[in-house]
Amino acid sequence: MPEPLQSKTPRRGQERYVAPPDETPLQATDSLDETAPPASLWGDAWRQLRTRPLFLISSALILLVITVAVAPGLFTDQGPRDCDLANTMQGPRAGHPLGFTQLGCDIYARVIYGARPSVLVGVLATLGTVLIGGTVGALAGFFGGRLDSLLSRVADIFFAIPLILGAIVLMQVSEGRTSLTVAMVLTVFGWPQVARIMRGAVLEVRQAEFITASRALGSSSMSTMLRHAIPNALSPVIVIATVSLGIYIATEATLSFLGIGLHPSIVSWGGDISAAQNQLRVAPQVLLYPAAALSLTVLSFIMLGDAVRDALDPKGRKR
């Protein structure tokens, strides 16, 4: 009697036992909970994020910083400009937990009030770079061809000038040095980075079948891009935007430190660090407190970006 064919050369997939249809009811093997919510990238990411200490710590810190920026009066009843030269560089005492600056200002109050301009610069610059860079990147990646070459070259031009250098030159010639001015200057030299990342993500998504399907259903290119390509390419942009927000805050402080960022009349961490540098040897705490506030804020945005990246990356999820 000849042996059955498959026992000699079991092909891929054939070694599995398949129950005959009459033995097992279909629902039992193939049961699918149709009422369950569909697994989405964002849903999965959120479920993962909720349990991550990194995410919880960083978002709690960010919430705190934003609250301080919005309502500094909740945290101190001292004004940042209530300075008394009699208190110059004195140590901490009741009601003034961090001591005083050289001009006799309460360090704690200045650290609290310094949050708003920094956060404002970070948020505005991030909005600006995501809007401009996102639009340029999406158009370049989705339509490709000549438009892509043109937009990519323009982005290259701005990318070739280092952020801090371009910002210094532009700040020097701009009038009025408010948070908005600094944010605009950072946007001018920051958008190419977002554009590059958006372009890469859209290029990848463009090959997907749901894009072809949307086109086949008769949607215009524009609506395919807006409704299908961009939403699916957004995750790396969100990650870079979160990290950049921290970086922009640090850059603003660097510019203020160099004396060409925010106007000296605006209470800001960078300005206070700059003012404290001459007394570093006698009173390091005057420099260290605003520096710590600044670093902690930047750190929490970078940590948040990291946590979101891990959660969105399916490769990392197996760990």
Partner: protein, 308 residues
């Protein structure tokens, strides 16, 4: 290969002109009169303004000014600073020390960043990995000027391990501390990049094959893991060179180095247009050439990449 380099050089041309035009426009087209500013409060004698304008071509239409400037660059004539010194002379003073500073920073990034990153990546999830990841995050988050001050205060003044400021002689020993500070942030980025890249590559098929063939662990790690992992790291290091020279503005200010950053910053503050434009042009050139070099290094690191 030659064709590839040629094509890349051609692609650099519009970027080069665009970037220099952008900087030129920012310096000379925006409000403010740099020549009048030279005289401060007192009005200059009649005729002098016109004479200086003519000397620096500022009386001609903007685009002609720009073209004359480009013509100067192409013949390596960077013009004269408003102080009367040729810009080339300023560059000859400023660049050597900043290049040395950047070299120290790059060496710190490459040696410690790749070294620690490799160890962390090989022992992913371990104690060393966790520590190094947290430390690198903190280093990235602290602005460079704070790192600079703290390093100067602790290492230079309290412990007196290294000179706290750089004097006239600009010895390597004096440049060591500012160089380390300059490279600190990028060191953390290199470390994280290497760590992630090594961790990814460890589970790659070719590494399993190499281990299965019976190659020793050091050989697998050095030849099969590290070489592949270095590609994103080299990209970062290459593009970082330009950023390092610009970032030197802060570091050089803190440690009192008379380099590119210091000269450039003074020139921006004092409205010395020609100096600013020339220095930025050179920095853009450094950035463009470094990124070309990076692309060529890819072929060395990854034999699958061929430039036909």
């Amino acid at each position: 290969m030659v064709w590839y380099v040629g094509r890349r050089l051609l692609q650099m041309v519009p970027v080069f002109f665009g970037a220099t035009l952008l900087i030129y426009a920012m310096v000379f087209l925006l409000p403010g009169d740099p020549i009048r500013a030279l005289f401060g409060e007192r009005p200059p004698p009649p005729g002098v303004l016109e004479q200086i304008r003519a000397e620096y071509n500022l009386d001609k239409p903007f685009i002609v000014q720009y073209l004359l400037y480009v013509k100067g660059i192409l013949t390596l004539d960077f013009g004269t600073a408003f102080t009367g010194r040729p810009v080339v002379e300023l560059m000859a003073n400023a660049f050597p020390v900043t290049i040395r500073l950047a070299l120290i920073a790059l060496a710190v990034e490459a040696v410690f960043g790749i070294g620690f990153g490799l160890i962390a990546g090989l022992r992913r999830g371990g104690f060393f990995d966790a520590t190094v990841l947290i430390v690198s995050l903190i280093v990235i988050a602290i602005p460079i000027f704070v790192i600079g001050f703290v390093a100067q205060f602790v290492i230079g003044l309290k412990l007196e391990l290294l000179p706290a400021t750089v004097g006239q002689e600009e010895s390597w020993r004096q440049l060591l501390l500012p160089g380390i500070v300059l490279g600190a942030t990028s060191f953390a980025y290199v470390l994280r990049l290497t760590r992630n890249s090594v961790a990814d590559n460890l589970s790659a098929d070719h590494v399993r094959t190499a281990t299965a063939k019976g190659l020793s662990r050091p050989r697998v790690v050095s030849v099969h893991v590290l070489r592949n992992s270095l590609i994103p790291v080299v990209t970062f290091l290459g593009t970082d060179l330009g950023a390092l020279m610009a970032g030197a503005i802060v570091t050089e200010g803190i440690f009192n180095v008379n380099g590119v950053g210091g000269t450039l910053y003074q020139a921006v503050i004092r409205g010395q247009g020609t100096t600013v434009v020339s220095f930025v042009t050179v920095l853009v050139m450094v950035y463009l050439l470094a990124s070309l070099l990076v692309d060529l290094l890819y072929a060395v690191l990854d034999p699958r990449i061929r430039y036909a």
